[in-house]
Amino acid sequence: MRGRGLAAYSLGLYGFIYLPLAVMIAFSFNDARRNVAWKGFTGRWYSSLFHNVELLGALATTLELAAIAAAIATVLGLLSSYAMTRHASFRGRSLYGSLFLVPLMLPEIVIGVSLLSFFVRSRIPLNFWSLAFAHAMIALPYTTNSIRARLLSLKDGRLEEAAMDLGASDWQAFYKITLPLAWPAIFGGALLAFTVSFEDFVTSFFIAGIGIVTMPIKVYSMMKFGVTPEINALGCCLVLATVLLLAAHHFLTGEEESGRI
């Protein structure tokens, strides 16, 4: 019976967790400029969102930024996780392991202000590329973790050894065996990295230079300077994007469960 009480409680807590999002989604269809009372159903905030040139520009910037950051983080993550899992153990290997986790543990504001003061001091321009590179750094733990876990689960390279016994070169073994096996984790890690960059506000807030407006920054200025009813619709789009990205990620790594060798 205790289980039933707990189930009810958990359901309630999930209600608490999802209530705010539900409210925002509901109000995004409300035919009133203010979030006060229900005035009827409308899709006009979405349509004005999709006709807003500035917002579409922000969306393009955010996507480009996330794609570049995810690409960099994935390549770096793949190289380093390969070395950490497949190479002979060496001194300092665990040190690398914890170094790669540091960006994950630091409070976001620390990363933001340190990058700001460092970039300004070393005259690195605050432009699209410096922001993309910073996002790649923040996303690195996610790709490294994901790929490393997968490589570790692949039983220490016995399959590659078998392939090489059958005459494959190192590259062939890597390219035909390791890479395809690690592929779900690589792509899953890349998706997580993409999401991290896509949703990042704090770092962008501190170091995005002029003219670089990402979606979260747009949401922030709408919240701060107000008077824009499209904000609910925009928030919903961000949530939807997150859900889709996470679902894709789950789909990929969920496959891992069944496709395990």
């Binding site: 400029r33 203010r34 979030n35 006060v36 040139v53 480009e64 570049i68 690409a71 300004v120 005259r123 321009p125 605050l126 432009n127 699209f128 590329w129 070169s169 590259w171 062939q172 390219y175 230079g209 002029i210 003219g211 200025s221 919240m223 701060k224 300077f225 107000g226 008077v227």
Partner: protein, 350 residues
């Protein structure tokens, strides 16, 4: 020998290698100008029109406060071409080499500016500034939520509005108003005066719901707050959303300020910057901005194009009787500015 590297590998590699320069090119081909302005300070039509006419893209960034803009420029966060700043900020920016003088004869629409706004104390030889808009600091309020329309600054100290008051989040408006209310000159450095106004502002703190220069507008509209120290045009714009909102210049008097378009030193797009500024001075463009933002225009030709109702609105263009009660901010030496900022940050810390 078997083929070890398939063609697909190389195509993939080549494609990804090509993507980077493509993205890089894409971002540098167009003509742009980087414009840093206050929030609620331009009409949504203005910049698209400028882009349509000139083909120059405007990167537009908003701030809620002068000090924020100053901090960014001062820190060397580069890339800005045009910024808007208040009168009192000009000598400071000039001294620190943050702005450049206008090249003579670069702006053909400068002739529209009312001579009253030229040769000002903060820019006697008209070299660094072009006035953009002017306005006043006063009280914005919700008619449905106050006992009676406030007439005095002391309404913001009224115990019955506890938790319904918002104050601007900057040293300039708070300290200057407090000094004015207590009858001290704005340039004072007397510790007694500062102790006095600190006490007065700290006393107000428990009544204040939020110190804000941005979100207060939304909070006024939604009824979250009833009274707010505010800037004239912000409230009048908000009144379009909520007709209950009104704005008053308190009877004790207040400040009027003139915001200026400035050329940032080292701005990468000087030519485009001058084009943008000249565009903003065009009477028709300027009139459109004024009608939207509800701040007063220093542009004499633009005023002729305004709706008579707006022109006679005492909240936008105060009549002579109110003008007598308005003053402009004094130009303070750095030490005094620091004293102001320190005092203000101490009050906020509580």
């Amino acid at each position: 020998m078997t083929r070890r590297y398939s063609r697909r590998d190389f195509i993939g590699l080549a494609l990804s290698a090509a993507a980077f320069p493509w993205l890089a090119c894409k971002r540098s081909a167009e003509r742009v100008v980087n414009f840093f302005n206050w929030s609620l300070y331009i009409s949504p039509k203005t910049l698209p029109r400028f882009t349509e006419r000139t083909g120059i893209k405007v990167n537009y960034e908003e701030i809620a406060d002068d000090e924020e803009m100053f901090a960014k420029l001062r820190a060397g966060v580069g890339g800005y071409d045009v910024v808007v700043a208040s009168d009192y900020m000009i000598p400071r920016m000039r001294e620190l080499g943050l702005i450049d003088p206008y090249p003579a004869g670069a702006l053909k629409n400068l002739r529209h500016i009312d001579p009253k706004f030229r040769a000002t104390p903060y820019d006697p030889d008209n070299s660094y500034t072009v006035p953009y808009m002017w306005g006043t600091t006063g009280i914005g309020y919700n008619r449905g939520k106050v006992k009676s329309p406030p007439q005095s600054w002391w309404a913001l100290w009224d115990e019955s509005y506890r938790g319904k008051i918002s104050m601007l989040d900057n040293a300039r408006d708070n300290i200057a108003t407090a000094l004015l209310l207590k009858g001290y000159p704005e340039t004072t450095t007397d510790p007694k005066a500062f102790a006095d106004i600190s006490e007065m502002l700290s006393r107000q703190r428990p009544l204040v719901k939020q110190y804000s220069s941005g979100t207060y507008i939304d909070n006024l509209i939604t009824g979250e707050i009833s009274l707010a120290m505010s800037w004239s045009g912000d409230v009048l714009q908000a009144a379009r959303e909520n007709p209950q909102l009104d704005y008053v210049i308190p009877k004790e008097g207040s400040y009027l300020w003139v915001d200026n378009l400035l050329l940032v030193r080292g701005g990468p797009n000087r030519e485009e910057a001058l084009q943008l500024i000249d565009f903003l001075l065009e009477p028709e463009v300027n009139a459109e901005i004024t009608s939207f933002v509800r701040y007063a225009s220093p542009n004499a030709s633009a005023r002729k194009l305004l709706d008579p109702g707006l022109l006679s609105d005492p909240r936008v263009f105060p009549p002579a009787s109110v003008m007598k009660r308005l003053r402009i901010h004094a130009l303070l030496p750095p030490e005094t500015t620091q004293l102001w900022n320190q005092t203000w940050s101490d009050i906020k810390l509580g």
